[in-house]
């Protein structure tokens, strides 16, 4: 056992950090939130550094790595609130295509993703006030043709991250009258075709634009249907688990920087003749921020490893990351604002960028509440699977 990143994984982080710093660090996120679109240029550079290829299988020109490598990288991109649909593409789309895709789908999308020529996002919500799986309401009606994978999609998805910046989305729809995760089918839908429109929404976190995506009587066939008809629900849940861990990794990186910012300010800013970080109200608050950040990181490490190795407790470990991090890392960011006094409330201080990310991530693709339920059900299932003597 060695519960730390390997030297190689650490090198991935160092390279990523050097690269992002050389591009301006958090200024990239600031340019994005001031209205510029930095995603196109940035994505090319991420592809040059092979980051878009990390999770793509070897035979499609990728590195065949899993969540451990990806989260190591995402911790760094999260530190700088780096714009772009990297978690959607690498943690959701690539594994789904790899697990469920036909050869045709795989060879269409995977090499393109690895090369940086294809970005992907997710379109699951039909109603932004409902949670998964109820939020999936769109019906995919069979077209009546001979092909069993021919469906007609019609409706408007909402909360599609980077909807206008991506080449395709993984779309979830119901292929029969159903509730819950039953009867859900997944589709890969190219965004640049007729019958697909996107419309920008006003998002809380301006570094992560959200879109509506309308499909207008769009006929799709085997090129689009991803995996078995009616039975995409469990693959979607696993994809969401990966995204949960990816998101926690990004916020952990952000929290790491928030601790650094608080330490820096606590050391430099003086009041009553002392640096404010000497006062324990501030010092202990920062120590707690650090403890929560490290705890989130520990959960991410294990969940990523467990997902990569198909450990029996992978689901529980993934759910635990959000159960723990959603509120605690949010508190890290709000405490950072507190530690900075009036400066903390300014646009110039980076605190609000992180705070808004944490808040918009909280209920997106799984709330802490739904993850608590996922966690405890998984735990009860493992415990009852053990024999009475407690042998594992």
């Amino acid at each position: 056992m060695d519960a730390r990143l390997t030297d190689e994984q650490q090198r991935v982080q160092e390279t990523a950090r050097d690269f992002i710093e050389s591009e301006g660090g958090i200024e990239l996120a600031r340019r994005q939130l001031e209205g510029e679109n930095v995603v196109d240029d940035l994505w090319n550079e991420l592809a040059d550094l092979d980051y878009t290829a990390i999770t793509v299988p070897l035979e499609y020109g990728g590195f065949g790595e899993g969540m451990v490598y990806l989260t190591a990288l995402l911790e760094v991109t999260g530190r700088y609130a780096l714009p772009g649909p990297l978690p959607e593409t690498a943690a959701i789309a690539v594994p789904l295509l790899t697990e469920l895709g036909t050869e045709d789908q795989q060879s269409t999308y995977l090499p393109a993703i690895a090369d940086g020529d294809c970005r992907m996002s997710v379109a699951v919500y039909d109603d932004e006030t409902e949670s998964l799986p109820h939020a999936i309401q769109m019906r995919a009606e069979p077209t009546g043709s001979d092909s069993e994978s021919a469906f007609r999609l019609d409706g408007t998805k909402t909360l599609v991250p980077y909807g206008d910046d991506v080449d395709a989305v993984i779309l979830a729809a119901r292929t029969r009258n159903s509730q819950g995760y039953d009867g859900i089918s997944l589709f890969v839908v190219d965004t640049d075709q007729d019958g697909v429109e996107t419309q920008r929404l006003d998002s809380l976190d301006w570094t992560r634009p959200m879109y509506e995506l309308t499909v207008d009587d769009l006929e799709v066939g085997d090129k689009a249907l991803l995996g078995p008809v009616h039975a995409g629900g469990s693959a979607l849940q696993t994809a969401v688990d990966r995204f949960t861990v990816a998101g926690t990794a990004m916020l952990t990186g952000a929290a790491d920087r928030a601790v650094d910012l608080s330490v820096e300010h606590g050391t430099e800013r003086e009041q009553y003749g002392h640096p404010v970080g000497r006062f324990q109200a501030v010092k202990h608050r920062i120590a707690d921020m650090w403890i929560d950040m490290q705890s989130a990181r520990s959960l991410v490490y294990y969940a990523a490893w467990a997902l990569d190795n198909d450990e029996p407790d992978a689901t529980r470990a993934a759910a635990a990351t959000k159960v723990y991090a959603a509120d605690r890392l949010h508190r890290v960011f709000s405490d950072d604002i507190w530690n900075h006094g009036g400066m903390g409330f300014t646009w110039d201080h980076d605190g609000h960028i992180y705070l808004k990310q944490a808040k918009s991530w909280r209920n997106f693709l799984g709330s802490p509440e739904s993850n608590r339920e996922r966690l405890i059900s998984a735990r009860l299932a493992t415990e009852s699977a053990k024999s009475p003597s407690g042998e594992s």
Partner: protein, 400 residues
């Protein structure tokens, strides 16, 4: 990154499992029962330690030459997991095994090692740790119990407090002031002191959990000898630091996880209004939160162990293990009492393994004992994050 165990480590686990099955007190796995009478209980813990020691399972982290197994940190982790899994009884001489033995092995003289170390594992001699005083707790370096040299003897006067097991201890690992001319960290010396002498009297303190395991200890011209000085005279702070590194390597996370699993079982078995507790939304929510925190604490501990495998000693970041696990245990047992319903008003340990009522009160003791959360947060803030140091007095004089 790799969270799996090697084959050798797994076979170590199985060796221990098999041994436990053979050697745990009769009927322990079905019904773990500890005698309620204090003296019988101590005898029971002592016998258990001797059973462990007989097969080198009492202090596996000790070198083989001293009756240990020179176990790696990973093996120690496995050991803790397995001991927690069967709710193994505690050893009577834990302070000796975990803190004083390893300190003597590291900085004691050959004669001291020969004379004292073997009797620690075998529980022939029970040890206590005499640091805290009425006026010196968190600020232990300010202590004022005096040791004065008289020929080849040292004469000790002063008072210690909160000294766990002093009432049954044969020996005390004592830190006293031998020079008060310098700063408070200078002029301290560590001594081994025979508890069986007229100059020492102990008075048990009645604890919040109605037990009496810590004590006041009075030193009135008590004596010890030159050869029982540990480390150098006036350099006792170094010895204190050596010992505290062993303290930081300890964690209770594995027993907390086991307590959590017992609680989970309880919630599945017990009903309220005809409905199993486990189907209650609030219960599920709280269990899930505890579960996530336990996993976080355990994985953080694994990370600290992995770092320590490389660096040798736990760094200041290990303070986090203590803060997190002490607070977690408090919250877990607090919840365990709450879900008993109105029966929470009774001193009743309905579910033996969780031992919730007394465990709940007891958890306040361990929360305070190894340095409070405030002190641990100072360590993290100052030594890990480099924040400015607290305003502290450097002397042991209190404005007299």
């Amino acid at each position: 990154m790799d969270f799996s165990y090697t084959e050798a480590q797994e076979s170590f686990r199985h060796e221990l499992r098999d041994w436990l099955e053979e050697n745990l007190p009769d009927g322990w796995l079905e019904n773990p029962e500890i005698p309620s009478d204090r003296e019988e209980r101590n005898a029971f813990f002592k016998e258990w330690q001797q059973t462990l020691a007989a097969d080198n399972w009492a202090g596996i982290h000790w070198p083989e030459a001293y009756g240990g197994r020179g176990a790696s940190l990973i093996e120690q982790t496995i050991y803790r997991e397995e001991m927690a899994r069967v709710n193994a009884p505690p050893q009577i001489n834990l302070i000796g095994v975990n803190l004083i033995g390893p300190t003597l092995i590291e900085v004691g003289t050959e004669e001291q090692k020969e004379r004292f170390v073997p009797n620690i594992l075998s529980a022939e001699e029970i040890w206590c740790q005499g640091y805290s005083e009425p006026e010196s707790g968190s600020d232990v370096a300010s202590l004022t119990t005096k040791a004065e040299k008289d020929g080849d003897e040292w004469v000790i006067n002063g008072q210690k407090i909160w000294t766990s097991y002093a009432h049954i201890a044969d020996w005390c690992f004592l830190v006293a002031r031998t020079d008060s001319s310098g700063t408070k960290h200078e002029g301290l010396t560590a001594f081994l002191v025979d508890m069986d002498q007229d100059g020492i009297s102990t008075e048990p303190i009645h604890q919040a959990n109605d037990d009496r395991t810590f004590n006041q200890v009075y030193f009135d011209d008590a004596v010890t000898t030159d050869d029982l000085v540990v480390g150098e005279v006036d350099e006792g702070w170094d010895v204190v630091m050596t010992l505290s590194a062993f303290e930081h390597g300890m964690t209770s996370i594995y027993s907390i996880e086991q307590e959590y699993l017992d609680l989970l079982e309880y919630c599945q078995e017990e009903t309220r209004g005809g409905t199993p507790l486990i189907e209650d939304d609030n219960v599920r929510r709280q269990l899930a939160d505890l579960d996530a925190r336990i996993q976080a604490a355990k994985m953080t501990h694994y990370r600290n162990v992995s770092t320590q495998m490389e660096t040798g000693t736990p760094g200041p970041e290990a303070s986090m293990d203590l803060v997190v696990s002490d607070e977690l245990r408090k919250d877990l047992l607090n919840f365990a009492v709450d879900i008993k319903g109105p029966a929470a008003a009774l001193w009743d340990n309905e579910h033996e393994a969780v031992d919730e009522t007394s465990g709940y009160i007891r958890s306040y003791g361990s929360w305070i004992a190894a340095g409070t959360g405030d002190i641990q947060r100072n360590i993290i803030g100052e030594q890990v994050l480099g924040l400015p140091k607290d305003i502290k007095s450097k002397t042991s004089h209190r404005g007299e």
